[in-house]
């Protein structure tokens, strides 16, 4: 069997990264939670940056692969000429299902994913955005292409902005879901799971996608 040290590090890192972010999590915290020697991270992953990449690669691979497969199945099955709320829901549903599938393997990976997206759209992190686009962009661009076909009223620029407004909805919900679930339980004594949140998000994003566009920009 291959050493479990690597997996224990990855699991612990994922939990800590999800909760406190990449910068605010120290290798000492990770290795102590993983019950592993401090130097093991640099031994196996070369550096902290290498560990971060390993953690993100572990779910971005499956996520994009799953998304890609579902999207091409969708493209072939549906008559893409029809446009409307149902088609938008179907498309966002595919994205949601990819997320859910990834979350089944690693519970905290979606929170890490959200942090990654947030980071990528920070100023001074253009290199990260480029790297993600280069490595995993194709399936997301595929998603955007299909979504674009369902929103033909807008021009490209308007679509760009609308897409990112919806991305914000998703990213915030994913990164804050643990807090929101906790507050919800305390406040309303109702527990929510990821499936329910995802179902909500699909409906909300599909509706928001159809919001009117503001007047022409000069």
């Amino acid at each position: 069997m291959t050493s479990s040290t690597i997996d224990r590090i990855l699991d612990a890192a994922e939990v800590e990264f999800a909760a406190h972010g990449f910068v605010e999590t120290s290798l000492r915290t990770i290795t102590s939670k993983a019950k592993v020697n401090l130097a093991a991270v640099n031994y196996h992953f070369g550096s902290k940056k290498g560990l971060i990449q390993a953690v993100t690669d572990r779910f971005l691979g499956p996520l994009t692969q799953n998304l890609q497969a579902q999207l091409s199945a969708y493209e072939q099955s549906s008559h893409k000429s029809t446009i409307g709320e149902q088609e938008l829901q179907a498309l966002f549903g595919i994205l949601a299902r990819s997320c859910q599938q990834v979350a089944q393997q690693n519970q905290h990976s979606l929170a890490v994913f959200a942090r990654l997206i947030n980071m990528a759209y920070s100023q001074s992190q253009g290199h990260l955005r480029k790297h993600l686009t280069y490595q995993y962009g194709s399936s997301f661009l595929y998603f955007m292409k299909l979504l674009r076909q369902h929103m033909p009223v807008m021009n490209n620029e308007q679509f760009f902005w609308r897409f990112h407004y919806l991305l914000g909805t998703l990213v915030f919900a994913l990164s804050s879901s643990e807090s929101l679930v906790a507050i919800c339980e305390r406040e309303y004594e109702v527990s929510r799971n990821l499936d329910q949140i995802m179902s909500d998000l699909v409906l909300v994003m599909a509706r928001a996608a159809q919001a009117p566009i503001t007047g022409e920009y000069k």
Copy 2:
């Protein structure tokens, strides 16, 4: 005249906090950009935490005050029995205008605001959320109360979630706006300003607020 050191520190800190966040900005960076001695921060603000609070207080005060005033004017003028997209747009428009007014004073304060909200909904930052609620919560709760009246179909729990989905849209747009504007200019050769983004957001949030609700949760 009162020393400009304090203002220079606050201005520099706001820019750096907006771009890199609170933790990843060092006092050495701030004081060198402000052309001020390193020890001046601790002299005037006591600690880094004190500086963060001073930076956020500077815009949260005006923001909440403006929001409060607009909301009570709205509550008195409108016949709140009518519900529909127009009323939702009006309410989100008030929020947008408060943001715009604050941004006029300090250009980067909205990005700091977004970072603050994101932080507050991180796990392990419950104390920050409590502090913000205690200090500035009343005007936001007022906003939620009025919004709640325009979304009577949902129960409280469903409203809670919907509200936070919309909050995510706003927060992501605010925190990523600089990057998005830059990408948009590069990609489409169209420049966008905050006013246009805010107009968009009002329409998107008003529409998303009306998305159907998923089936009953056990």
